[in-house]
């Protein structure tokens, strides 16, 4: 089991960190969050061409770099730290993994090189207006007429759903229910019958869309009706990647808050010298480091083919969600009144903490799933 980054992974982390600190200062975050698209195509091109980040986990035979989830998690952690506004989570973590998990060889050869090069941005549409993240909640129906499939229904909370060029859609076969009949499809972002609307989000740095499918022709991704395993796997992978993104954001808040406490003077001394503040910071650090351990452990387990991955995914997501939102709340508290203002940056991370806490299922959901999956332990 891997419990420390290798020398190469440390170097990679430094490269990604330097790039993101330069390209995603809060001035840029603030500019982009006010736009509908929510990302800068120039930066997207740079991170695709110069750092080849979208190619990271795509195997080499599909035009990728063939790295693992530990490397992906390093990227996610740094993106979370810099609050990068870009469709990386949607295109790489969600869509590319889904295609890898369910697509046919031909589909992988067709779609993955485009995602890896950054030339198309894809996303994955699972959840509907029920806001539930399990297969049983999927109601969008794939109607079939011979070999042709048309999608009927709606998807909600689709990350970058309004800007993605390809949308991987989770649907169910007509007449199926529960875990049965789960199918993946691909549709183009401009497919006839598809209506996309940008949702008003609490977290403006992560764009969500509602997609309405009115008899949209769609190509099955993999075998229709046999998508349950791939859906579970994709969601576990996404939860692990998101956990690593969360601990990156929490780290930013931790560091910036401790720094603030060392310069802010009240009662003739820096507030960081009061035990009330120090103890809060020590508790924040403990929360952060424990969540980090769970997130790292889960990412390493994915690369090691550990059979505990599903449980570890739930543990990581629950720990990271709880830690991030607590640390965000504590950061605002320690900043005092200024922390509640729009011009101070803490709220940007607080809102990402809130959206990440809920996205892919809240901590209670993950703890329940974890207990159902626990078995004889890990």
């Amino acid at each position: 089991m891997q419990f420390a980054f290798t020398e190469e992974q440390h170097q990679f982390k430094d490269v990604v960190k330097r790039f993101l600190r330069e390209k995603s200062p809060t001035t840029e975050v603030r500019r982009l969050m006010e736009t509908d698209d929510g990302f800068d195509p120039v930066v997207w091109k740079q991170l695709s061409d110069e750092l080849a980040l979208p190619s990271l986990i795509v195997p080499e035979n599909y035009g990728g770099a063939g790295f693992g989830f530990v490397e992906l998690s390093i990227v996610m952690e740094e993106m979370g730290h810099s609050l990068l506004c870009a469709p990386y989570f949607s295109s790489v973590v969600l869509a590319a993994n889904a295609i890898l998990n369910v697509g046919t060889e031909k589909q992988k050869l067709d779609l993955l090189p485009q995602i890896a090069s950054g030339s198309i941005r894809a996303t994955l549409a699972v959840t509907e207006s029920s806001g539930r993240w399990n297969a049983a909640a999927v109601e969008l129906v794939a109607e079939t007429d011979g070999d042709e499939f048309t999608l009927q229904g709606e998807k909600c909370f689709v990350v970058d759903g309004h800007t993605a060029g390809k949308i991987v859609v989770v649907a169910r076969l007509e007449g199926s229910e529960g875990d049965d009949g789960i199918s993946f499809f691909v549709v183009d972002g401009d497919a006839p019958g598809l209506t996309k609307s940008l949702l008003k989000t609490v977290d403006p740095t992560r764009k969500l869309a509602r997609l309405e499918f009115n008899s949209v022709q769609a190509e099955p991704l993999g075998e229709p009706g046999a998508g349950m395993g791939a859906l579970t796997k994709t969601l576990d992978q996404a939860a692990i990647a998101l956990s690593n993104e969360m601990i990156g954001g929490a780290q930013y808040l931790m560091d910036s808050t401790v720094e603030y406490s060392k310069v802010r003077m009240q009662f003739g001394r820096v507030i960081g010298s009061f035990q009330a503040i120090k103890h809060r910071c020590a508790d924040m650090l403990l929360l952060l480091e424990l969540a980090k351990s769970a997130a790292y452990r889960a990412a390493a387990a994915l690369d090691e083919g550990d059979e505990s991955v599903p449980v570890l995914a739930n543990m990581a997501k629950s720990a990271a969600s709880d830690a991030y939102i607590q640390i965000a709340a504590d950061s605002i508290q320690i900043h005092g009144g200024i922390g509640f203002t729009w011009d101070q940056d803490t709220h940007l991370w607080f809102k990402r903490a809130k959206s990440s806490e809920v996205f892919l299922g809240d901590p209670a959901y993950h703890r329940e799933l974890m207990m159902q999956r626990w078995g004889e332990g890990i």
Binding site: V258, S273, H279, L285, L286, E289, M315
Partner: protein, 416 residues
């Protein structure tokens, strides 16, 4: 350490054991042979019962001992802290007089540091030692002294100068515990056990040659003792394993370990017994309750994450990377885990949490968890002190202003 050296040492110890190991000897007879040969504590100096070998060699040598079921030197309890302190700060007289009898197990030691008036603030000790021209005369009270009721010697921290700041006025002594002025009382804890003692010291004497290191150097010497205390904790767990072998020498050893370990038998319970949670939840059927499941999950996540955090710290250390914050968090994490575990055990037990002893769940074991966990956030450095250490040393935050930096005699303190 090359393989060649390791193999040579292993061969040497093997040959020595073949020649000398005899289960028919008494424990003391055998351990005297160990002391003479240096194989009992091979990492100690050659001049003092060791062989100057690197610590990394010890597991290899222990393997050879295990191979022939040979008993080792006495290691349990406070005695190894005494040995480490004497080796580092003691003079030749101390080494000559005490080290051998520590190794043979003939002498038992205790640590006289904490006091009723100074718990977290160890350097605020007010037990005094005054030199009467011939001897040091000691007066005061010590508390939380494990094994004092059967100790031959005590490692004593006492104040010898009240006119200097508190850390500078302390001196370290070796106190004969069997003299009339030393009165030991067991302290009964809220969980019913009596693992510690209170020691009343009235006009006890220490001859000048039993002062360790310089007058006023007591704090520095005590730091050495405390540094070994943590390291010792791992070794103690290893010693807990019973060889299970028949024979007089093994019986003697078992008795020695049992006596020393007696005060620690509730320690697993104070850590929360996370290992029992799933089993208990299934047996009682409480696993069916959704809110119980949530609390169990929180506990398991916290407990596993703490374990992985320790693994991260070790992995980084093995790779020679600078220590990150993960290394300083273990104690606070363990305290949080224990508290959550106590809550979960209560949830699982329901009304059975009202009962203890033979009426209680698992013959009182669960009740013992519930009434032992409060110790975990106090013993060995309170949670509050841990948070200060994390904030100051890891996060680099400023210390609180102090009110105890002047001459100790002017520092406000408890009235005992």
């Amino acid at each position: 350490m090359s393989n060649l050296t390791v193999n040579a040492v292993k061969e040497e110890v093997r040959a020595w054991l073949q020649e000398n190991w005899d289960a028919g000897l008494s424990l003391v007879e055998w351990r005297n042979k160990l002391a003479d040969s240096g194989w009992g504590v091979p990492d100690w100096p050659g001049q003092w019962y060791g062989r100057d070998l690197p610590v990394a060699m010890l597991p290899e040598i222990e393997e050879e001992f295990a191979e022939v079921n040979a008993v080792g030197v006495a290691r349990s309890g406070i005695r190894m802290l005494a040995a480490a302190t004497i080796l580092e700060h003691g003079n030749d007289l101390h080494k000559k007089e005490f080290l051998r009898r520590i190794l043979t197990g003939e002498d038992t030691w205790c640590q006289l540091f904490s006091e009723p008036g100074s718990g977290s603030d160890l350097a605020g000790a007010t037990t005094r030692a005054d030199f009467d021209g011939e001897n040091w005369i000691v007066n005061g009270q010590k508390l939380w002294t494990t094994s004092a009721h059967h100790a031959d010697y005590g490692l004593l921290l006492a104040r010898t100068d009240w006119d200097v700041p508190k850390h500078q006025g302390l001196t370290y002594f070796i106190l004969d515990m069997t003299q009339p002025g030393v009165d030991v009382h067991q302290v009964k804890q809220m969980n019913g056990h009596a693992s510690f003692n209170q020691v009343f010291i009235t006009d006890a004497t220490v001859a000048p040659q039993y002062r360790v290191d310089e007058e006023g150097a007591g704090w520095r010497v005590a730091m050495t003792t405390l540094a070994h205390e943590r390291r010792n904790a791992d070794g103690m767990n290893r010693l807990n394993r019973d060889s299970g072998l028949p024979g007089a020498i093994y019986e003697e050893e078992r008795k020695e370990v049992a006596t020393v370990m007696e005060p620690y038998k509730w320690y697993p319970q104070r850590a929360g017994r996370v290992d029992l949670v799933m089993q208990r939840a299934k047996q009682t059927g409480r696993i069916e309750n959704a809110s119980v499941r949530q609390e169990i999950a929180k506990l398991l996540i916290m407990s596993k994450s703490a374990e992985w955090t320790a693994r991260r710290a070790r992995a980084a250390q093995e790779l020679g990377m600078p220590q990150g914050p993960e290394g300083s968090l273990g104690k606070l994490a363990a305290s949080n885990v224990a508290k959550q575990a106590s809550g979960v055990h209560t949830l699982i037990s329901g009304a059975d949490a009202l009962l203890t002893g033979s009426d209680g769940a698992m013959d009182g074991l669960i009740a013992e968890v519930l009434v032992s966990v409060p110790a975990v956030s106090i013993a060995g450095g309170t949670d509050e002190i841990q948070r200060n250490i994390i904030a100051e040393r890891v996060l680099g935050m400023e210390k609180e202003p102090r009110f105890d930096s002047g001459p100790f005699k002017d520092v406000p303190r408890n009235v005992v």
